[in-house]
């Protein structure tokens, strides 16, 4: 009888272990396939000609994705410029000022925002943001600034929820100690709580960047997808993700391999961002 319960326990445990490890397996397989498809072209054309090449004409043997790398970073930084102050403000409001009722209303709303499909964001961007930019700022409207605006809103849930957790985990004693010294609420937030939560807040920004740099659908709808480094915030641009999504359907041969190479670069960038974010968070916990 006892043997049977022990067996059951072990069985459940091993089933769970198998499923837990399977996600690791998938990650490994994705890695393997992208590298297997993407690396040969690096060897054939040369790492320098791909990463620092300016010309993308895959049917003619040019695989330069430098403009797309720069563009991806530009929209990401643009998204951060818009999303970070908004997101952090919202997180501060939620953790320090809002009452229970407001929190109960705002948190589900944010989760809903996170759940809206990116094609809907792209659609709204095309219908509203693009004409707005075209009419008031000039250019075609399909531009760096339109993309940044939409991505800035899309990364809000990430930034808010992670910075909120960081702010809430600042010990109550810090708040009391500061208040006992005659600090106002805002002085306490500005001088004690934000510095204490700094690493978590930075991690939220970096994970937001990861989300922005990986976003595809909304970006291809709004960015204009031109193959050059944008000269101003009103110029169109093409990101790494956009490049893959736009061309994969009809690409063959080396062209197709070129898109996988784009994927390799994208994956490496996202891995670096995640590493930085995790490092930041871990350092905080270690303290």
């Amino acid at each position: 009888m006892i043997d049977r319960t022990v067996f059951k326990e072990r069985f459940v445990k091993w089933v769970l272990v198998a499923f837990a490890l399977s996600s690791l397996l998938f990650l490994f397989l994705i890695f393997l396939f992208i590298l297997a498809e993407g690396l040969p072209l690096f060897l054939k054309v040369g790492v320098k000609n791909i990463i620092f090449g300016f010309k993308w004409a895959p049917t003619k043997g040019y695989f330069g994705i430098f403009p797309m790398i720069i563009s991806s970073f530009l929209v990401t930084i643009g998204a951060l410029v818009i999303g970070a102050p908004m997101g952090l403000s919202c997180a501060i409001y939620l953790s320090e000022y809002s009452g229970k009722k407001m929190k109960m209303f705002l948190k589900p709303a944010l989760e809903l925002l996170a759940g809206i499909p990116s094609v809907v964001f792209g659609f709204l961007g095309v219908i509203y943001i693009v004409p707005l930019v075209r009419n008031y700022l000039g250019g075609s409207g399909f531009s760096l600034i339109s993309t940044s605006l939409v991505l800035g809103v899309m990364i809000l849930p990430t930034i808010i929820s992670i910075s909120f957790d960081a702010l809430v985990s600042v010990p109550k004693t810090y708040r009391e100690g500061s208040a006992a010294m005659g600090a106002t609420k805002w002085q306490t937030i500005y001088k004690v709580i934000i510095p204490s939560a700094k690493s978590g807040i930075l991690a939220s920004f970096i994970l937001g960047m990861g989300r922005a740099i990986g976003e595809t659908m909304a970006v291809i709808m709004i960015a204009g997808n031109a193959l050059k480094i944008p000269g101003s915030i009103l110029d169109p641009l093409r990101t790494l993700t956009g490049n893959i999504a736009l061309e994969l359907a009809y690409a063959t041969g080396d062209h197709r391999l070129g898109l996988f190479s784009t994927g390799v670069v994208l994956m490496v960038i996202i891995m670096i961002l995640n590493y930085i974010a995790n490092f930041g968070i871990k350092r905080k916990i270690a303290k």
Binding site: T173, S178, A180, V192, S196
Partner: protein
Amino acid sequence: MDTKISTDRLKVFFGKAQVLKEITIAVHRNTITGFMGPSGSGKSTLISVINRMIDFENNVRIEGDAAIDGTSILDGSINPIELRRRVGTVFAVPIPLPRSIFENIAYGPKLKGTTDRTSLHHIVEDSLKKAFLWDEVKDRLSTSALKLSGGQQQRLCLARTLALKPEIILLDEPCSGLDPVSTAKIEDALSELKSEYTIILVSNNTKQIARISDFSAFFYLGELIEYNTTEKVFTTPAESKTEDYIQGKFG
């Protein structure tokens, strides 16, 4: 004797539970007054009324009055932030802010608007000296306050409070986690400070109260049982409850 802090039939309720029952007490200027009593006696609640930290608790109801220099501090027109600059607090667990030693002490004065570097330095040095900490940290003011030992951190918190130039210092079990040497240093500092400040020392440690306080108040289950000079309370207590507590029969 000159009264600095007074309460008049002060009652405090947390929800339905009454934690202070009609407390009427007058704390004298430039003395150390010890508040003692077992936990749950309401002594900490009483000081949280005096510094208005009770504002941070939910679902609190206060009746009666508390006053400093004869002026009510529960009045709506009192700004609790201004009040907390006059009434400094040192907590049981030292809570240095995650900043340098210098910044910890300069924090309060900076909030008040002192930005001049030389006067800040002056305040920091002066406060650390008064808290008997200067000699131990004068060479490393820019290191993190979190690197100090527990006893040093508590004296840092005392220095930080002194930097606000308060009129009153409230200490809520300031030595509960400290070794005897650190405790002695804090007690020495307090004995010197009473000429300038009115000090309330909340403690479970009756021996400490007997050592350094001029007046002693004994609280039990939200009531003020006895309040008199320390000598009287400890040698000829009027209430048998007080005597039992002092002798360690309960608490």
